[in-house]
Each structure stands twice: as structure tokens, then as C-alpha cells.
């Protein structure tokens, strides 16, 4: 048959059985919806974790006898590291004031000298805020002259990293299962659509229809229906996201590439299921 006729027929066929196809697209959309929401949650939790990690700073406590010249030198050395973004100096006096604010005026009253050390607060560039990098930079700073001790919330950071890796495990398992369900459900729904045309296919073959005559319309239908399901699922997710009660600048929606991937994946899945169903049928 002519390609133009086959394509016309595929699209016409979808409209002809619009009622069945509407439920079909609805069911597929609900599957894709679950997948999209899953991706959305994963993505945002990852963002939040990254952001929390970003708040991690390195506290560099300086030796008590350090001279202002040494401080300037040290500061420029640290600032010179490629990973470092910002270095803030906190003098002994500032440290004492903060301590008093925190524990009350009396706490340091009777002491002969201020026991608190001066310090730098070092924050790293955003893309470098990862546990191994922070850890390495810290130990490098530790070896510099004039540094007494370096602290960077090791415990808290590694806890966060642990929690994230546990979550990632669960997330992967869940993600694989959701994806498997989507594949299973889409392929089965498409199979039912193809099976409903068993009689037509048989008759067409008896009348001399070629491989392409049989496969092209069903391939197109599978791709269109599944693609529409994916698109509708995405739109619903976007709608739900827009209505989501908690607004925050750190919330993001799926990137264009992810959305494209979802819809294209849906289309490939739908088309593949069509071809596979015909194969099992004939």
C-alpha cells in the first residue's frame, strides 16, 4: 500500500476507536505519571542533599601565637586552592563574643585570657562540595604552618552521605520496579489493541498485504498511543507540581531532556510492543 494511505489509516484508526483508545491512553498516562513523579522526587531529593552538603564549611583554627602577617599569608595560600571559593576570618575576640552570646556573659568573665582561637571559615566551590574533596582539602590545610586544627563536620557529612546512599539503594530498586511495571503495563495494553485487530490482520495477509502494510500502521498506532500516554502523564505531573502546596526555590521540575526521554522512551516502548505483539500473533 502507499505510505500516505497507511499513515492516514493508522491515525484514522485511532480516532475510530476513540473510546477504547481514550481509556488506553488514560491507563498508560497513569503508569507514566507514577514514573514521572518517582523521577521528580528522586531529582528533588538529590538537589536537596547537594544543597545540604553545600552548606558544609571547613573551620580552620589557628595557633594562638600567630602573627597578623602569618594570617595574611595563610589566608592567601588557602584562597589559592582551586577548590576554595571564600575564606572568612574570625578573630579571637569575635569568637569570644559569639561564645558569650551563646552561653551567657558570665562564662568567660573570670578568665585571665581569651581561651578561644582565631579561625578561618573556608567554603568550597559548589561543584567541589563532596565528602572526599572536603576531606582532602582539610588535611592539606592541616599541614600548613600556623594551623592548629581543622574541623569540617565530618560526622554529620558522612551521616548525610550514608543516608543518601541508603536512599539511593531503595530508590534504584523502586525505580527498576516502577519501570518494569510501566513496561509490563504498556506492552500489555498495546498487545490488547493489536489483538483486537487480529481479524483485520489475517484478512489483509490473505489478500496479499506485505510485511510493511501490516506492520507500519500498528507500529505507528503503538507509538502514538504510548507517546500520548507519556505526554499526558507528564502534563498531569506538571499540573500536580504547579498545585503543590510547598513552594521553594530549590524545587525543580524534570529537565527538558528527561521529559523528552520519557516521551520518546514511551514511544519506543509502544512501537516495540506493537511489533512484538504482531510477531506473536502471526
Amino acid at each position: 500500500m502507499r505510505d500516505s494511505y497507511l499513515i492516514k489509516q493508522a491515525i484514522y484508526g485511532i480516532f475510530q476507536r476513540w473510546k477504547a483508545n481514550l481509556t488506553l491512553v488514560g491507563c498508560l498516562a497513569s503508569s507514566f505519571l507514577v514514573l514521572a513523579i518517582f523521577l521528580l522526587i528522586t531529582l528533588n531529593l538529590q538537589n536537596i542533599t547537594e544543597k545540604l552538603k553545600g552548606e558544609a564549611q571547613i573551620e580552620v583554627y589557628l595557633l594562638d601565637g600567630i602573627t597578623p602577617e602569618q594570617i595574611v599569608l595563610l589566608r592567601s595560600t588557602i584562597q589559592g586552592y582551586p577548590e576554595v571559593e571564600k575564606v572568612i576570618f574570625k578573630s579571637k575576640e569575635e569568637a569570644a563574643t559569639q561564645m558569650e552570646d551563646y552561653l551567657g556573659k558570665e562564662i568567660l568573665k573570670g578568665l585571665d585570657s581569651n581561651p578561644l582561637p582565631a579561625s578561618f571559615q573556608v567554603s568550597l566551590r559548589e561543584e567541589q562540595r563532596k565528602f572526599p574533596i572536603i576531606s582532602r582539602v582539610s588535611s592539606e590545610i592541616q599541614n600548613l604552618d600556623g594551623v592548629e586544627e581543622v574541623e569540617f563536620g565530618r560526622e554529620w557529612l558522612s551521616k548525610l552521605d550514608n543516608a543518601w546512599s541508603v536512599f539511593l539503594t531503595v530508590d534504584w530498586i523502586f525505580g527498576i520496579l516502577v519501570t518494569l511495571s510501566v513496561v509490563l503495563i504498556v506492552s500489555n495494553f498495546i498487545r490488547v489493541t493489536v489483538l483486537s485487530q487480529t481479524e483485520s490482520i489475517r484478512v489483509m495477509k490473505l489478500l496479499g498485504a506485505s510485511w510493511k502494510d501490516i506492520h507500519l500502521p500498528l507500529l505507528l498506532q503503538g507509538m502514538i498511543l504510548s507517546g500520548l500516554g507519556g505526554l499526558l502523564g507528564l502534563l498531569l505531573t506538571r499540573g500536580g507540581y504547579a498545585l503543590f502546596p510547598i513552594k521553594s526555590a530549590s524545587l525543580t521540575f524534570l529537565s527538558f531532556h528527561m521529559m523528552l526521554g520519557l516521551v520518546l522512551g514511551g514511544m519506543i516502548l509502544g512501537g516495540g510492543s506493537s511489533l512484538w505483539s504482531i510477531k506473536k500473533l502471526v
Binding site: R2, Q197, V203, K205, L207, G208, A209, W211, D213
Partner: protein, 216 residues
């Protein structure tokens, strides 16, 4: 044009459905194939269109042999054949116009040529008023007419008609038989398989009789 050479067809069950069938049909010939239930008439037609494969022997149709034909060539072979089934096999999702246009479109005809030809045959079989109707809305007689129209629309080399009058009363039956003869006069060879053939009415027609899978 069509040659059957010692054709035998055996299904899993022991007695073969067809045994040692040989005959020749020339271009434009009209042959009636007759025999009681289970004679093997339908099976024979299925072998010709390659719906079933020959167990032994050979069928040659228009230079294509059942021994050497490739899977890809089967659609090309079928496009040269018109087929009328006892149960019509119209596609329920397509309206009558599209059903009748099917063989023409499968042949790759241009849409405007397809349209002209379909209108022509629909007129001929008296269905011009029902272009947009669907098979489910037609009576048996009208479905039979549509099935005939579909089978002859693309001017096939060979028309295989399996019980084309099964669902028709005598008046309509005679009409369908007349069409078969008309299309035969235009050059299409016709193989008409039927149980109840009354040779006294058409004794100028070549008849092949079968029983229990054998020619008699």
C-alpha cells in the same frame, strides 16, 4: 497458468485431506470444483494461495512454484488472486467502500484510480447506495455482494470462489453466478468450489468432482 502436480496434503490426523491431486487450468478458464462436506475443496483453495503448505507434490501458479517460492513472494502471488470466502471475511472496522478498495490499495493503486474503480464495481453489484455502511449493518446478501466486489475489483488473474452463494436465495445466487461468468469473459480464470452444483443447468462448464480428498 495453474498446475497441480500430484498434490497431497496431510494434517496431523491420519487420513490425508487431499491425496494425489493433479489438474491444469489455463488462462481465462472457468472450472467448478464440487464435492460433499470434507471433500477437501477449501483445503485445495488454501494450498493455491499458500495459506497451507503442500505436503508432497507441487503447485505452479503463474510461474511461481510452491517448491521454490520465497516467503516474500507470497504477498505478490496473492495479489494476483481474487478470493471469495463462505464467511465473507469483510473487515468490520472498515466501511464497505474501504473493504472493496482493499485489494486495489494493497496493489499500490493511486487513490483517485482506486476511487473510480470502486465506484464502478459497487454500481455493478448494486451497492452504490451503501458506501459508508459497515459490514455489521448489512444483510447476508449484501455482504456477499460486497465480498464479490472486493474479489473482482483488482481484475485478478484467478478468482477462487468458495461457496459464493451459500447465504443467498435462488434469485441472488443466479445473479452472483452471472457475475462470475461475466468476470470470466473479461479474462479472469474462475475456480468455483461448491457443494450443491446442478450440472444439468451448466453442462457446458468444466467440472472437477472430489470426494474424500481425491478427484473422481
Amino acid at each position: 497458468m495453474l498446475d497441480l502436480i500430484e498434490v497431497t496434503k496431510r494434517f496431523d490426523e491420519t487420513p490425508p485431506a487431499l491425496e494425489d491431486i493433479s489438474f491444469h487450468m489455463g488462462r481465462g478458464e472457468f472450472v467448478v470444483l464440487t464435492g460433499p462436506n470434507q471433500a477437501g475443496k477449501t483445503t485445495l483453495l488454501k494450498l493455491i494461495t499458500m495459506e497451507e503448505t503442500v505436503t508432497s507434490g507441487e503447485i505452479i501458479f503463474d510461474q511461481l512454484s510452491s517448491r521454490t517460492i520465497k516467503k516474500k513472494q507470497i504477498p505478490l502471488l496473492r495479489r494476483k488472486i481474487g478470493r471469495i470466502y463462505p464467511d465473507f471475511r469483510l473487515i468490520n472496522d472498515l466501511n464497505i467502500f474501504d473493504n472493496i478498495a482493499l485489494c486495489l490499495r494493497i496493489g499500490g493503486g493511486k487513490e483517485n484510480k482506486v476511487k473510480n474503480r470502486v465506484h464502478q464495481v459497487m454500481e455493478k453489484v448494486g451497492l452504490s447506495g451503501k458506501k459508508g455502511w459497515f459490514p455489521g449493518q448489512l444483510s447476508a446478501g449484501e455482504k456477499q455482494r460486497a465480498a464479490c466486489a472486493r474479489a473482482i475489483a483488482h481484475d485478478p488473474l484467478l478468482l477462487l470462489a468458495d461457496e459464493p452463494t451459500l447465504n443467498l436465495d435462488e434469485k441472488s445466487s443466479d445473479e452472483v453466478l452471472r457475475w462470475l461468468q461475466q468476470i470470466n469473459l473479461l479474462g479472469t480464470a474462475v475456480l468455483h468450489a461448491t457443494r450443491d452444483f446442478h450440472p444439468d443447468q451448466h453442462n457446458h462448464i468444466r467440472t472437477i468432482k472430489m470426494e474424500k480428498g481425491r478427484l473422481i
